[in-house]
């Protein structure tokens, strides 16, 4: 379990907006200290605002509206499911059968009589971007278009067209063909791969034959949203119907919170239907709460905790019937409701308990052997170093003059120094010596770590490598160390058989054998290798495979 390192999306919360949206005056400090209990990480704090990171599994946290809805719950200002009020509208979008192979689904909603300032627009745009990246999987699965409704003449048709089809895209003055947009516009170049493999592309066209959107790439200039826009159309196109409705639900709740009145848009066409955005019913057994959290509380406390998490809950026999608003796409089943109970109850109110251990602990026997090997090396006067297993070709092969034919590489590494899995530790030790030429000699170092080989699919072996660097270093000195570690460490006798290896001086190197089998190499490092590593002092070393000995 390690936290995700992928960059989490960020939402900016302005305190004056939050106060207004909360509907009650709450001290700034209280708001700030409540945020982490919603799972939000505070990234930056300023006088008038705060930036928080949220996990993409909570797409409803992509605006300050969504965060305020949850804050109202845990602060006890408003409880239960926020009602989504959608008036039945008369406008129609017809999905043509031709989109079936490219991007089959469309859903939409109208948001009416709203007022938008710059911050509202900014919140909506960042929500759209976050949803594109999260639920939308970088627009592959879902993309969202927001339009100025007053520029649109219904009914709309969602269909495919040839790539010579033209219209004026957003951020442009001139009409462009679809091909030109994909080749020249920034979003076109970024997302054109999503339309690879289909000659025709999806567009939404109104009854005046104006193209209003080219999903998942770009909207038209015609329907651009500005602070003057009062009525909006939100359309969501997708390759997955459920994901389309997820995104539409999140956007609908946010726009309602922003003061818009919602009106439904009828969807016609094969495999498509008008979205309901209804809350889902789910049963929760109070025993699951008790067994999971270790919290023995009455059903009424559970109900209140769920309501503080902005769900509805009522007792139904021995069960609790929960109503989950459509935007909570992260809730799969009862165990997720248990977490909602914990959050509503307050994690800070859960008192840690310590379970008794029923068995004695123990280290793995490999670890025990390696600890012994390490302490023996230290007893012999060698200091431990630690290098990476994922390393660079230069150190491992080029400078060390080693054969790279069995190399295992990783795809698309962001770093030159971390491209291949090491098949030997000794080059890394020589690199350590080369980075310490200004330090006092003698320098005697060792490392125990994993080496990787191509097998079925990969063989991982534990190796021990050691190196000694000083003016009087010799093959004999390092062979004494080898004999000693194998005898005192592993109680095995070793023989060496003269051999050849470009890493070492010819005639001053040998294979290391235990019971007639080669387990490593030993020698004085070749002057050319020392030169490559800019070392001006002689070095001797060995490397052995411990797997098999332990």
């Amino acid at each position: 379990m390690v936290e995700e390192r992928t960059k989490m999306p960020v939402v900016t919360l302005y305190f004056n907006r939050i106060t207004k949206l909360l509907g009650r005056k709450i001290a700034k400090e209280k708001i700030i200290s409540a945020l982490p209990f919603l799972g939000l990480d505070i990234e930056e704090e300023a006088q008038d605002h705060i930036n928080v990171e949220y996990s993409p599994n909570r797409p409803d946290f992509s605006t300050d509206y969504g965060i305020v809805t949850s804050l109202q719950g845990i602060l006890g200002i408003k409880l239960g499911v926020p009602q989504l009020r959608v008036k039945k509208g008369t406008h129609v979008i017809k999905a043509d059968a031709s989109v079936g192979k490219v991007r089959p689904y469309i859903v939409a909603i109208e948001a009416l009589n709203g007022k938008m300032d710059d911050e509202t627009i900014r919140q909506i745009i960042t929500m759209q971007e976050d949803l594109h990246n999260g639920i939308g999987r970088k627009r592959k699965k879902v993309s969202i278009g927001v339009h100025d409704l007053s520029k649109i003449k219904f009914p709309l048709v969602y269909k495919t067209v040839e790539r010579v089809h033209r219209f004026v895209p957003l951020n442009s003055q001139d009409s462009m063909t679809v091909s030109e947009i994909l080749d020249k516009k920034e979003t076109g170049m970024t997302y054109k791969h999503l339309l690879e493999g289909s000659k025709k592309v999806p567009v939404i066209v109104d009854s005046a034959q104006n193209t209003i959107s080219f999903p998942p790439i770009i909207n038209s200039k015609l329907t651009e949203v500005t602070t003057a826009s009062k009525n909006l159309l939100v359309e969501v196109t997708a390759t997955d119907k459920n994901a389309a409705e997820d995104a539409l639900a999140v956007v609908s709740y946010a726009l309602q919170s922003a003061g818009f009145k919602l009106s439904s848009v009828r969807i016609l066409g094969p495999r498509n239907s008008t979205p309901l955005l209804a809350s889902r019913k789910m049963l929760l057994d109070p025993a699951l709460v008790k067994n999971t959290l270790g919290l023995d509380v009455s059903t009424s406390v559970i109900v209140k905790s769920l309501r503080k998490s902005r769900l509805d809950a009522t007792v139904k026999g021995k069960q609790i019937l929960c109503l989950v608003p459509r935007y909570r796409t992260d809730i799969f089943g009862p165990i997720d409701l248990v977490e909602e109970v914990a959050l509503g109850y307050g994690i800070q109110n859960l008192i840690p308990t310590i379970p008794q251990a029923s068995s004695a602990g123990q280290k793995n026997k490999v670890t025990v052997s390696l600890e012994a090997a390490r302490s023996t090396m230290i007893g012999l006067g060698y200091s431990e170093v630690m290098n990476f297993g994922l390393t660079g070709k230069q150190i491992l092969y080029d400078l060390a003059k080693r054969d790279s034919s069995g190399m295992i590489s990783v795809s698309d590494s962001k770093s030159q120094e971390h491209q291949i899995l090491r098949d030997a530790l000794l080059p890394g030790l020589v690199d350590v010596l080369s980075r310490n030429i200004h330090e006092t000699y003698p320098q005697k170092i060792f490392e125990i770590g994993t080496a990787f080989y191509r097998d079925d699919p990969v063989d991982e072996e534990i190796h021990l490598a050691c190196a000694s660097a000083h003016n009087d270093v010799s093959y004999t000195e390092i062979k004494s160390i080898l004999q000693s570690i194998l005898k005192s460490g592993f109680d095995v006798s070793t023989t060496t058989k003269i051999s050849n290896d470009p890493l070492f001086v010819q005639g001053r190197t040998a294979d290391i054998l235990v019971n007639g089998k080669k387990i490593g190499i030993i020698g004085e490092l070749a002057p050319e290798v020392l030169d490559n590593f800019k070392l001006r002092i002689p070095v001797a070393g060995f490397e052995i495979k411990l797997t098999g000995l332990i």
Binding site: M1, V2, E3, R5, T6, L38, G39, P56, N57, D240, T292, L293, G294, F332, G333, I335, V338, A342, I347, L350, I351, P352, T353, I354, P355, A357, S359, G361, Q362, K363, N364, E371, R374, S375, I378, Y382, S383, E384, M386, N387, F388, L390, I408, S409, V410, D412, S413, K414, H418, L421, V432, R435, N436, E439, T440, I445, T450, R454, P457, V458
Partner: protein, 268 residues
């Protein structure tokens, strides 16, 4: 008699290895048995078995190291594969693909080792831990390495709870000499509920994030035949080492500067 003598340096273990040893000793003292496993893993155990969908952003090449031209021939038992396939179909509504599960990765967490042991051994009760290298494809910085050490502990038991999980953290931290800790909710794809712990660092005078934890989701345990609840927690060891040695740049732990290695007091 009074002039300083020439300086000699004691051969010693690596300071990061000392922290790893310390963490290991604490787990053993708390009754945990150690697991070891490979750094190279199939996507099946690193991701699929943990209910991480195949189109999840964390599985993209820009975050995870995939081995070039290396695939696992077999990844799990036919039953395990069938059940995990079904869990993904039911939970995420997509066509799960075995060939994607066969792609080999450098493990992004040691949870792949834990989950495999739990699936193969079918423990009713157990306390297990593992320590090992994990990998993330990202730019190296003062905060992040591409390869680091992770520790992970799990407790399997009929009656174990989230409060027990929190209690085990407190016990662990007490043994590390950390007095103040608190818990916040967080998200992991494979645990529910999920928490993160914050510990108070006296030197920095602030709260810092330490371990992530949670209870394995039923979508993870059920398909693999794990019957009892599993508490799991873990995190990076370098972070603990940085706090212990007062480092602000994580790269220093792997620079192998003899000047530093020779100067860090062994007894602290």
């Amino acid at each position: 008699m009074e002039a300083p003598a020439p300086v000699v340096f004691a051969a010693r273990s690596h300071p990061l290895a000392d922290v790893i040893d310390e963490v290991r000793e604490i787990f053993v003292s708390l009754g945990f048995a150690e697991l070891v496993g490979n750094s190279t893993q199939s996507s099946f155990w690193n991701f699929d078995a943990l209910f991480i969908p195949q189109d999840h952003p964390a599985r993209e090449m820009q975050d995870t190291f995939y081995l070039k031209d290396v695939s696992a021939k077999s990844v799990a038992t036919p039953k395990q594969i069938k059940q995990v396939d079904a869990a993904h179909k039911n939970g995420w509504h997509y066509d799960w693909r075995l060939d994607a599960a066969k792609r080999m990765v450098l493990r992004t967490h040691t949870t792949c080792v834990t989950i495999r042991a739990l699936a193969d051994q079918e423990y009713d009760e157990a306390r297990l831990f593992s320590i090992g290298r994990v990998f993330r494809n990202e730019k190296v910085s003062y905060k992040h390495l591409v390869e680091f050490n992770q520790v992970e502990g799990v407790v399997v038991g009929k009656n174990v709870t989230l409060r027990d999980l929190m209690g085990l953290q407190m016990e662990f931290y007490r043994k590390m000499g950390i007095k103040k800790a608190k818990f916040w909710p967080t998200f992991f794809p494979y645990t529910e509920p999920s928490l993160q712990s914050m510990i108070y660092n006296e030197r920095l005078g602030k709260w810092v994030e330490l371990f992530g934890m949670g209870i394995f989701r039923p979508e993870v345990t059920k398909p693999l035949g794990i019957k009892n609840p599993v508490l799991a927690w873990g995190g990076g060891i370098e972070r603990i080492a940085m706090l212990k040695y007062g480092l602000d740049d994580v790269r220093e732990l792997y620079n192998n500067k003899l000047g530093w290695l020779r100067s860090v007091p062994k007894c602290q």
